[in-house]
Symmetry: C2
């Protein structure tokens, strides 16, 4: 039993809705999953107060006191180094020391990236751990890897991103033989900038991924690839632009429906199905973005995550552990 | 009179709808504008046949025979060098030789970029002519510069893009004191990759543009900047992704409205206003993308452009000439 148990340290103080939604998400997660234990890290009093609102199995939730909080406007490297008793740093140390398998945080992205590398640590052989959010496509999701810190990535980094992303999609998301595409500005091998031109032949040579060649940004929403490999500058541009277009769209549709009483009635008739469709544009609906290639899983959820996303993020960690992702990474990539 | 006349050479054989829509667009343009003359370049018989369908002022449209056509799947450098009697090359030579002020083409993007530099030629002091499409925002348009060939741009190139874009938006599009933003993955000066970090201080120093700092991709649809400066890899990703999201959106909405008879009725009620709104997602609605910094204007319209976009592209050239854009560029940038 203890072998199968996944222990998730949740940074209960990070994000816009901390600690309330973090605690609620944890309570829901331990109700849904059997082999899980959540350790809520942060100010004990605040967490206890929130926990008091729910009934739950007390063997499955613990509190670990941490007195400091890292704010989103702090310089990540300094904050992680100095705030040794912050909820994020304490949670990450638990992974390093083997007390937890994974960390879930809705806090500062920069601090999560820095802490992941500096505290949790990289798997031997992994050069640059990428952050890989799932983004919606017309009929599913795709992993956009990297959206983290590797803005001046080299081709050797992209090769590792491709392999890490492929393992994640196959074993955590259950996509068989995931299609790996290189984000580029043309379909042909010789297209692109120096980075993509250098990366293409390296990806083509790999025998442990299903490389389908270049994919253009136009094809992303169609679901042309399961894993989209890029440097973090391009990845962040795509991710943020998706969010911006979604917001613009919602505002535009609202203005249409408010324009006249007739339009308003038209809206009422399609409301239910329309809102379901528009949800596809929410890039934060699919749980958290894993920071891959570390000695343990670090999952970053959106700063504005609610209990439902927190819960999904926590449960992601169970699959990650049960599928022995770290071992797979070591076997497939790092050892080579 | 002849001093004020703008002569536009139209590549009548380029694009999916050539020569029909190109000819029709030219006829409409000479009807709308007084001080314009269009030279339709391409296979004389085919052009004559199309022209025969319309009534127009014969002093304002000429045909220049060119027997070859550059296809979109040809290698641009080779095609431009070898096909000396292609409609695109002949049209560009007319600009070089002073017979025309501008070229409009819906043909191969690669050939337009190559021909622009090799045949029309750069203004002295301009290093890398950028291609700058207008993209829709929530309440207008923004110039995305560069979406051309400069995928491995240097900071000095981005500085010129910023200046060229600012001049274009101010004098051709009539935006007063256009806000110039650097596409980046964070708001602060120190954010980004090595290119944006190097470019930011250079833009800040310029006294001939209204630099507003970094803008994130999320802010583009809100209309946070009039000129968005980036390398062509990022620019093309944004441009193509916009197109892809627009297509996805349209497909999703159609599926909502087809889902039930009730939804279908709801659609009929909002149809008119909704379609007007969705047009905002069409990145090819705003005429053509200028290739800036050349000894004459080269405008690339979408490969699938119809007469209305061709007409807008041709009329753009008139403003370009009347506003003496080339002189302004020479004064503000090249001479420095």
């Amino acid at each position: 039993m203890s072998e199968e148990l996944t222990v998730v340290a949740v940074d209960a103080m990070g994000g816009d809705n901390a600690p309330g939604e973090l605690v609620k998400g944890a309570v829901n997660a331990v109700k849904d999953e059997d082999n899980i234990k959540v350790i809520l890290v942060g100010k004990e009093d605040a967490i206890k107060k929130e926990l008091g609102k729910y009934e739950y199995d007390e063997n499955k939730i613990e509190i670990r006191n941490a007195t400091e909080i890292i704010a989103t406007d702090e310089v990540p490297t300094i904050a992680v180094r100095r705030k040794k008793d912050s909820s994020l740093v304490v949670a990450m140390k638990m992974v390093k020391q083997g007390e937890a398998d994974a960390v879930v945080s809705a806090g500062s992205s920069g601090a999560i990236l820095v802490g992941g590398q500096a505290i949790v640590g990289r798997i031997k052989g992994i050069d640059r751990p990428p952050l890989a959010p799932l983004i919606p496509t017309s009929d599913g999701v795709a992993l956009l890897i990297d959206c983290g810190a590797n803005v001046d990535a080299r081709s050797s980094h992209l090769v590792q991103f491709a392999q890490l992303g492929s393992i994640y999609m196959e074993y955590v998301m259950g996509v068989k033989n995931p299609r790996v595409g290189l984000l580029n500005i043309g379909a042909e091998e010789e297209k692109g900038n120096s980075l993509t031109k250098e990366t293409y032949p390296l990806l083509k040579e790999l025998d442990n991924i299903n490389f389908i060649g270049n994919i253009e940004a136009r094809e992303i929403p169609e679901g042309a690839a399961d894993v989209i490999v890029c440097d973090a500058f391009a990845g962040n541009c795509i991710l943020k632009f998706y969010e911006g277009v979604g917001n613009m769209l919602k505002a535009k549709l609202t203005s249409v429906y408010k324009k006249s009483a007739k339009n308003g009635m038209g809206y009422l008739m399609v409301k239910k199905d329309l809102n379901k469709t528009l949800k596809a544009f929410k890039t934060d609906e699919y749980g958290g973005a894993p920071l891959l290639g570390l000695n343990g899983l670090v999952v970053k959820t959106h700063g504005s995550a609610k209990a439902v996303e927190v819960c999904t993020s926590i449960k992601q960690c169970v699959t990650f552990k049960q599928q022995h992702i770290k071992d797979r990474v070591t076997e497939h990539i790092a050892v080579k």
